[in-house]
Symmetry: C2
Subunit: 670 residues, 2 copies
Amino acid sequence: MEQNPLVIFMPSGRRARVATGTPLLDAAREMGVEIESICGGKLTCGKCRVLVEHGRFEKHGILSDGGHLSAESSEERQLLDRKKSEANARLSCVACVTDDVLIEVPPESRAQKQIIRKHATDRVIELDPAVRQVYVELESAELGEHRGDWGRLQAALKEQWNLDVPHIDINTLRDLQKNIRKGKWAVTVSLWHDREVIEVRPAYDEGIYGLAVDIGSTTVAGYLCNLQTGEVVATESVMNPQITYGEDLMSRVSYAMMHDDGTKKMHGAIIKSLNRLIADAARQAEISVSQIVDAVFVGNTTMIHLLLGIDPSELGGAPFALANRDSMDIKARDLKLKLNPAAYVHIMPAEAGHVGADNVAALLAEEPYQQDETILMVDVGTNAEITLGNQAWMLSASSPTGPAFEGAQIAYGMRAAPGAIERVRIDPTTFEGKFRVIGEEKWSQEWNFATDAPLDEQTQHRAAGICGSGIIEAVAELFRVGIITGDGRFRDDLPTDRVTFDGPRGSYVLATAEQTTNGEPILVTQDDVRNIQLGKAALYAGCKLLMNRAGITSVDRVVLAGAFGSYIDPQYAMLLGLFPDCELSCVNAVGNAAGDGARIALLNHHKRDEAQRVAHWITYVETAVDPSFQDEFVGAIHIPHKTDEFPHLKGLLPDVESAELPTRRRRRRR
Amino acid sequence: MEQNPLVIFMPSGRRARVATGTPLLDAAREMGVEIESICGGKLTCGKCRVLVEHGRFEKHGILSDGGHLSAESSEERQLLDRKKSEANARLSCVACVTDDVLIEVPPESRAQKQIIRKHATDRVIELDPAVRQVYVELESAELGEHRGDWGRLQAALKEQWNLDVPHIDINTLRDLQKNIRKGKWAVTVSLWHDREVIEVRPAYDEGIYGLAVDIGSTTVAGYLCNLQTGEVVATESVMNPQITYGEDLMSRVSYAMMHDDGTKKMHGAIIKSLNRLIADAARQAEISVSQIVDAVFVGNTTMIHLLLGIDPSELGGAPFALANRDSMDIKARDLKLKLNPAAYVHIMPAEAGHVGADNVAALLAEEPYQQDETILMVDVGTNAEITLGNQAWMLSASSPTGPAFEGAQIAYGMRAAPGAIERVRIDPTTFEGKFRVIGEEKWSQEWNFATDAPLDEQTQHRAAGICGSGIIEAVAELFRVGIITGDGRFRDDLPTDRVTFDGPRGSYVLATAEQTTNGEPILVTQDDVRNIQLGKAALYAGCKLLMNRAGITSVDRVVLAGAFGSYIDPQYAMLLGLFPDCELSCVNAVGNAAGDGARIALLNHHKRDEAQRVAHWITYVETAVDPSFQDEFVGAIHIPHKTDEFPHLKGLLPDVESAELPTRRRRRRR
């Protein structure tokens, strides 16, 4: 019988036989080879480019051509050409295996493990968790006395703690008699909300733990806490494995809509990763997973749908109906999460279809609803979540910023992984640029690739692309030094080779060929500038919309939540006009506020009620149906759209703002 | 590499390789060959006798001896000799495979499918089940309105039914959005106790079902009911598969105590059987299992422990502590029961360590606690459960009757399967006996084995042993015609060949060699009579104990519950003195009252509360610690222990009661 085709991926060398017709990207996933894919197979990102090697296979004793793939469509070739790809390049999402094939995955196409920079901040949280331990001594069973052991335990809880506990988990009941006798009629009981016994340990045995988890689209961060001290005993992060089904939220929603088993696959993937995270955290803290008796989960609405195994398709289009907006308590085992077998997980509530539990958790962490000051909090992702208010009123909105801020839809964009350009400076006189990449302390002009240099002076990483914070700085610097004008066009009258033109569309050479992993220069293109403009206009318009709704023209404080907020330079963000003007000292990055909020809800169950109240109390403003949104959006496309709105950046603003634009039309490419 | 030994069982011809050292009984279980085992490997019942065939195997090209088993111990041989076994007989529970072996399972050792005679009685039950369906129409999701679909459903339930339903099962939530949209914003909802949504169907879609199950030690009976009409739409019974781990309760408790995975195995076995029963019942009723949205389980305390996966070891000794005495609601999926995935199962409460949910259910069915009459209800099994009382007071007790009434510990005993002698008559003049076997209408003297007779006149079954009701009648008849005296001894002065002696121990030839499957006569032995005497004395003593406690000397009505009660002839039971004298017309067999009670609790959830109240209200009397029990027991060993206590049987009582017993001592065998 004919065998299935053999597929080999280099440089990992992984090999397996797959069914004829399998897309290369699927084959790679099955074999654990991580290939970037942002658009999830919709032929728009071109990130999954691979190279096909020919003439390497011996088959039936004959050396045969190894490049057996389905024919290239004109769409595929156009996208590859646009990316200036090699002749043997293919897009792994559409190229299907027809026979034996050998594939090279170039560095820029590899999905690398993210650098995780989320750490639990040390906050004071009043400790009153949903699960607590009590020690009780039971009457021993006697002939002629007919209560069961559970009845005896209930009586002891009533007598010694004045607690009426109606329920015991079936798993806990199974070991009850053994544990009671092992403890010689004394046990330590874990109670969930004082109404269910979820654990019984023999004799006196304290020590219970809880897990707070923020499921981001990219990163899943878990904080394992001692429920008796509140201390974070382990912090663990993993990449969200759903990335292989689509980089951004909408790609994953599309994946669910287009594949019958899409939800099941993405649900299974996150549960598997969570179980690994749980096991790793427990190992790090030197406890057993069965000691983890509670958990709180936050995430955006799509992530929570997928965590619960709910098809997120309804979130893919208006009216963006959630399956459930409110908080829920679910047995961990019903999600196949491997905590204590009787543990519950608490899912925090959402506000609306696109403002999820992560935003509610961030509110819980920052408590703008308790403050006199009016606070603008923004969490930037593919959708930005914006909340505005104080103790008297709170508004929230989400704004479709697009994936540019995360390095997607950027010509040389990539995620915040080693080799990604994250900092950029451009000399205002020479227009020469320098940059710093993730994983490398030194700026690019100090790089040293000499192999005879001392090992600690040798540069480890060349540039592989530009990440979110890098593109913000690059565009802001281009504007600051006058290479681009306020409407985002490249000036063609500057004395520098760094700026090149293809028709009317300029670009800036940020990294030269010798500074990059693949020997091709890394450019900031006209489209990149446009995408950043669109994103920042959406974000700014969302902020302004809420300010208009509230009838205010300025805010007291800007809080940047989330990973993105931690890595962008607030000065550049304001220079670009991502959010309204504010005293720079009143702009704070608070890191993973969502994770902090989850931890707060884990350690104090009253905060869960507070979160539910806040989620209902806050007024969600639907940007899409607000007539003033388009106005604000169009008005915010310029950089900065009105100079006098940014008095705090006066010194930084360029003097080239009103410079003449080149009017000569150039022939467009293709 | 040497292969594992091959084991073949005849006549089924099943064959498999098993590890060296595997007991034949285990090998048989693994291969699905059912061999009787009452004692569960404790070398007492001898029921698992098999025959070893020699010289049948070709191995390594040489014809080799097929009888490769571990050496026979003297205990094994003694037991086999006591059973007058063939030279090549072995006990499969202790004989271990050492090499290839061919085994013949004789008919009397085969565990056959029970004949199940339990049928749901037609009773009027007020219908008010725990699960009900309501139809609601939801507001459709609109942009700018942020409740989730679950919030919309809650609002509709409140508005249209004035119901505050706080919970929805996670499985139900998963399909909520799809079902709501499929029904165009109208759905039919199944509510559990009006507080949890367990099912949502698109549009108007009625039809929900529930299952009432009585888990007996031998038989599991399930009644599938339409929860809207109360009608029984399917009745299914299966044998309790735990029988292979021990026939009676105590053997199973011992199995759990002696094997680390004993509980897990027996739990897994019953769950597997229940799932088959559920699937069969659904198929019979032409519904899907997902339409079964509720279930009620009853059973004795050991059966309920094993159903829940709780080690029953504590029930194996004083103080007989239950894990839980009270009723419980558990998600079916937590027991791996395949009903609707969100369904709960209700476990009815027990009264005490040895009076379980089956007894509580029987009370619910018969309602003695509502009556003016004082009712004695007995359910005979290895332990008899006895309840006595009326609306003012109720007492209960369990009495260790032993397994004789179920055909165990009887020399030629067997379960109520085809070929079992169930009816016996003895001529008082000639002392000749006749009998009827299960599966055969005709009495033994009319049997016709002539192969030239018309097919419908040919007798299908020869006698294979004596079942519980058979041994009761046999002993009662032996007493009635004067073959045994009131103290249970065989008379040796009667002019009949039917009575034979081995030393002082007489026996009666009930079936002659030509009437039996194996060509050996079936005897009622002195030990059999003794075991019946012990059992009936325990039962009678238990009844008397409760009557003494209540200060009464007679009862208004005797109710015989359970399968045993349905098949014994009340006249013979009273003749033997199983229970106190009562007008024969006031003795009722009510069949599977426990199953009826489970069905009542399934169809009316208030009855679940009533059951819980009754279980707490009834006074359980611990026979083991009551000083008068031994007195009553010893006084009840005679048949009948006091003639004047059975006025209603006057005409039936023998005139040979005070006849002289033979005083000549005979030499005891071996």
